[in-house]
Amino acid sequence: MKRAGTLLIALLLLGAIGTSARAAQPAKVKNVDQSRAEVVDYWTAERMRNAVPLDITVAPGGEAQQAAVAFTRYEPNPYPAMHGKVFFSDGVSNYVCSGTAVTSANESVVWTAGHCVHQGPGVFYSNWAFVPQYRDGARPYGTWTARRLMTTSGWATRGDFSYDLGAAVVNANGGATLTDTVGSRGAAFNQPAQQRYLSHGYPAASPFNGQREYLCDSNLGGRDPSTSPQTMAIGCDMTGGSSGGGWVVGNNVLTVNSYGYSNQPNVMYGPYQGSVAQQLYTSAGSG
């Protein structure tokens, strides 16, 4: 009986390893060929300001899959220095997202959504820059440009929101590294999903204007059963521009703002950070 039990456990472990091996495909990487000066020069104060909201109206979608989740939203005071606004280009169009400086061996990693670095599927974006503690156009810690962009294979090849995570390794700025300058959050993986999250972001679409950072404070509101692994839901009314902002528990980022449903106002989803996310994080911090 004991032997049969041991065999069953071994088979289950083999199955888990097999599943993990399939999921943990190598991260997709792009070494950025733009110089730091080129990207800093591109993001003039005027270009950053011009990323202002239009009135976006979204058509109704299908049946709601998640009931409203209680949350509060507020502007932090003071702004934590390790959170910031992300700027990038796709062709001739400029976009904004959000990101977090995370602890890493190279002291240079910004953690964000996969769709803030890569089209999924398609190509990596250009003119990628991170501005910590951005507020009303002020850049107290300057502009940090990417030297390497990375995302999961699941995002890059299948555009799968379950793997919508991205990382940028940024250039040193004035001889200093990013996290030596602004501090960092940790990143945690394979954690219980049931947590109280503080989601950070720079929403830019109406009624926001992208000039201020906000936090949504929410317990886990559920999971998305149409995804695998299931993504996590919280209550949050941040709009376009908040993509990639970190969901913090304690001092660790457990996921990022990834997507919402058009017929579910005030619900934000983020991927569950498992072994694939951990592999991306380890890879980003080592180069």
Binding site: V58, A59, G159, F161
Partner: protein, 97 residues
């Protein structure tokens, strides 16, 4: 405004498990406001029955439709089609099993 299909899941000839969902993702241009494309399954327009996921970049970059029949898929072959405002229907077959 342009809506370009970037993901069809399952791919043509692919398979969706009985409890799974059909997913079509679009890359959208800046200025995109609402989805003009329609999703048809076995000839029926299921767009309004589909979940519409939007990535909160600013401006928008991506929207996707996710469809699973309320009473489950019937086993066997099915046809999906996307009809965009500026293009011919893009149809493919997949199976459930």
């Amino acid at each position: 405004m342009s809506e370009r299909v970037v993901v069809r899941s399952p791919e043509p000839g692919g398979q969706v498990p009985p409890g799974g969902a059909l997913r079509v993702a679009f890359h959208v241009d800046p200025g995109w406001e609402s989805l003009a494309a329609r999703l048809l399954v076995d000839g029926r327009d299921v767009t309004r029955e589909s979940g519409q996921r939007i990535a909160p970049t600013y401006p928008p970059t991506r929207v996707e439709l996710v469809y699973a029949p309320a009473d489950g898929w019937s086993p066997g072959p099915h046809e999906a089609a996307v009809v965009t405002a500026d293009g011919a229907p893009d149809a493919w077959t997949f199976s459930v099993g």
